[in-house]
């Protein structure tokens, strides 16, 4: 019977999370908590930080269309000259 208890203890210990796993779980819980208890600025930050390329390319499309409408090819050539190598 004693031997059985020892076996169970080994199995129980093996199934426990490691220190690293515990830290990861805590970080996950804290980040989830921040999502629920956050200010409008924090919510906006979370929205942009998830899929940042979507926001960046969306904003860039607006500026490209508006600036090209105002300055025409002079603007696109300028962007190409400065950022295009």
């Amino acid at each position: 019977m004693k031997k059985d208890k020892g076996t169970y203890a080994v199995l129980k210990n093996a199934s426990l999370p490691t220190e690293q796993q515990k830290e990861k779980m805590l970080a996950h819980i804290l980040s989830e908590y921040r999502i629920y208890k956050s200010s409008p600025a924090e919510k906006l930050y979370r929205l942009i930080a998830a899929y940042p390329w979507r926001f960046a390319l969306g904003l860039s499309t607006v500026q490209a269309v508006l600036c090209t409408m105002i300055w025409g090819r002079e603007y696109t050539n300028l962007v190409l000259k400065i950022l295009g190598g």
Partner: protein, 187 residues
């Protein structure tokens, strides 16, 4: 593949999970596109260009690696001055996860430079390229802010201060990158 998708779509999770392999692949690809692919494409596309020099390719590759180390050290140093407790190792492992815009920018720069005559004075290509270039710049800035907040652990005024100071360092390093022949800065 999931590792790249995570770095692309959820940078906060990617910073937290610190995927080393994916991070190094991103930096190495950006450097190699700049230093090996760019001269080769120029040589293939323009018949009158002389064959690329292997020594200069190796030298710019070294400059690219040095630039990555320099920006990580600058980030660590100035974030530490502004109160961050993150060790240098964490900066070296996670800053590379912000390299998706750099990688795409290096590809766009190579093609826009080699096939310059196609894009110059063309409204459609001009709009598309200005969306790409300005978009990548905004994307990198977002990742820079997310990095300062999540990895360096800075908030409010301290984060703003670090953003401005390191921003100036980034501009200086970008100019130095251009001087040594790295058209897309390895920053």
């Amino acid at each position: 593949m999931n590792l790249f998708i995570e770095a692309l779509n959820h940078p906060i999770d990617a910073f937290r999970n610190k995927n080393k392999t994916g991070a190094w692949v991103l930096v190495a690809s950006t450097i190699l596109i700049n230093t090996v692919f760019a001269p080769l494409l120029t040589w293939f596309a323009c018949a009158w260009y002389s064959a690329p020099d292997i020594f200069s390719m190796m030298l710019t590759t070294l400059w690219g690696s040095a630039s990555y180390l320099a920006i990580c050290t600058a980030l660590w140093l100035f974030c530490k001055l502004f109160g961050s407790k993150t060790p240098l190792k964490a900066y070296l492992q996670t800053w590379s996860l912000t390299f998706f815009p750099n990688l795409l920018c290096s590809i766009a720069v190579v093609f826009s430079e080699v096939y310059f005559t196609v894009f110059w004075n063309n409204s459609i290509w001009g709009i598309l390229l200005s969306i790409v270039f300005v978009g990548l710049l905004i994307w990198k800035t977002i990742l820079y802010i997310v990095f300062l907040k999540e990895v360096a652990g800075l908030k409010g005024g301290r984060m703003f201060g670090a953003f401005i100071v390191i921003g100036i360092i980034i501009v200086v390093l970008a100019l130095l990158n251009g001087y040594v022949g790295l058209k897309t800065p390895i920053l």
